[in-house]
């Protein structure tokens, strides 16, 4: 672990990517690829930019390193392509 800095100043730009916040999750979205129509609603609504788009496969993909399990994507999905499950750790 790096040493702390004077006044908690962070000198590394974009370093928040290094901090994985997915462990905060108690509910987990499961993406069902077969039902995904690539409408991108989940991507638009995700408040944490935890959903990315696979342009080759034309599918939405969740990044569990950052997804906090809020369930907005599952609520917005019109095709039942996302279901919420309890996170088991």
């Amino acid at each position: 672990m790096a040493k702390i800095t004077t006044g908690a100043i962070n000198y590394v730009a974009g370093s928040s990517r290094n901090y994985k916040t997915g462990s905060w999750r108690s509910m987990k979205p499961i993406f069902h690829e077969d039902k995904c129509k690539f409408c991108k609603q989940c991507y638009e609504f995700c408040p944490d930019s935890a959903i990315t788009l696979d342009e080759t496969k034309k599918k939405a993909v969740v990044d569990y390193n950052y997804c906090k399990g809020c369930g907005i994507c599952a609520k917005e999905c019109k095709f039942d392509a996302i279901t919420m499950e309890e996170e088991v750790k």
Partner: protein, 395 residues
């Protein structure tokens, strides 16, 4: 050196001006209002090249001070009482981000009931905020502590903000002859603020005010505490350098007549002058009584206090504030804690006096001495805290 008669607020404003701050965000509040007034005049008259920021509250004043200081600017402000309370959360942010802001505080009572007069409750209630705290006895000391505040706060070994306390009205509004330090000497003494940790540079993007998880928060707090404790040495060095340059001697505590004293009175702020008079009178009557004035409350001068007080039979601490529910004055409780592991220690008595601007008289200190003598005779204090000059018929 020029001598001029001025009020305490003028002294702190002048002390600040001599240090050439770049930014002064301030919101007026009794009894400190004259400070922003003077600063705005200095700026308007072209005597001070600073950004004077008019804000809508003290919370904003401290927020603006933090923002400005984080760019690498030299920043000062002033407030008092409710204003300091409104700043409260920002005080921790200034110290946590290690920003060397210097602030004059016209020490005043807190509401309710509303009261604008002298009391140390505002400063005392802010003592855990991570700011260096000075309490001054005279206008000269208030001016000098502003200069010393920048010198100490901006030291790369410290980087903590400073509060310079001056008693409401007794100092803030009272005329006193003050030596004005030469500008070139102040320039040399304070130097330029060149922070290595936090400044604005478009080619060097940084994140300030970031968050810290349980993984690292304790370490930030540990370092803050360590730096504050270690600042004691920097303060001593700065006081010595100040004496060399300006000829006036300051120390974290001042002990007078303590060597042979059976009883030592401990004071802070303007009541010290009255205590000194009382001691002169009591000494003339053959009483072995001494005085310890605390000028720096944070970092708390434990070592010096033990050294100065350990030889006495009893120590009477006069607090001008409360820790409601403790029934021991705040400064007294800290002195008690200081002695807790000492093998031999004096009897330590807590006195509360002068709240909300009630005058502390020479006779009050004589009463403190009488009560302490009686406690010594009896072998124990009669009360956890003695209230001096309390109108019992009113309660």
């Amino acid at each position: 050196m020029v001598k001029k008669v001025m009020r305490g607020n003028e002294a702190t404003a002048l002390g600040a001006k001599l240090c050439k701050p770049n930014v002064v965000p301030a919101y007026p509040i009794t009894p400190s209002t004259l400070f922003p007034e003077r600063i705005s005049e200095y700026v308007a008259d072209g005597e001070l090249d600073a950004e004077f920021v008019l804000v809508e509250s003290e919370h904003s004043a401290m927020s603006a001070a933090i923002g400005a200081s984080a760019t690498g600017a030299r920043v000062c402000t002033a407030t008092a009482s409710q204003g300091l309370e409104l700043m409260h959360e920002m005080l921790f942010i200034a110290s946590g981000m290690r920003l060397p802001i210097v602030m004059a505080v016209g020490n005043r009572a807190l509401s309710a009931p509303i009261n604008i007069w002298c009391d140390h409750q505002d400063g005392i209630s802010a003592r855990d905020c991570g700011w260096i705290q000075f309490y001054t006895e005279r206008n000269q000391e208030a001016l000098d502590m502003m200069i010393l505040g920048f010198k100490i706060s901006e030291d790369p070994r410290v980087l903590l903000p400073s509060m310079v306390g001056l008693d409401a009205f007794v100092l803030t509004h009272t005329m006193e002859a003050v030596d004005i330090p030469d500008q070139d000497k102040v320039d040399k003494f304070v130097g330029k603020y060149n922070p290595a940790h936090c400044y604005m540079d478009v080619n060097r993007p940084i994140t300030i005010g970031s968050f810290s998880t349980p993984d690292t928060y304790m370490e930030f707090r540990y370092v803050q505490d360590k730096v504050m404790n270690d600042a004691a040495k920097v303060i001593d060095e700065a006081f010595a350098a100040f004496e060399k340059t300006f000829g006036r001697k300051y120390s974290k505590i001042t002990a007078e007549n303590t060597k042979d004293a059976d009883i030592i009175l401990v004071t802070m702020g303007s009541m010290t002058g009255t205590a000194r008079e009382a001691i002169t009178k009591m000494r003339a009557a053959g009483k072995k009584v001494g005085l310890v004035k605390i000028s720096v409350l944070r970092p708390f001068p434990k070592k010096e206090l033990i050294e100065a007080l350990k030889g006495a039979k009893a120590v009477a601490v006069v607090d001008r504030s409360l820790s409601v529910g403790l029934n021991i004055g705040p400064v007294c409780s800290e002195i008690g804690a200081t002695f807790i592991n000492e093998k031999t220690r004096p009897m330590i008595l807590s006195f509360v006096a002068g709240l909300g601007g009630r005058d502390i008289l020479i006779t009050d200190f004589e009463e403190v001495h009488e009560k302490t003598t009686a406690a010594l005779k009896k072998g124990a204090p009669e009360k956890d805290t003695y209230w001096i000059h309390l109108k019992e018929e009113l309660v």
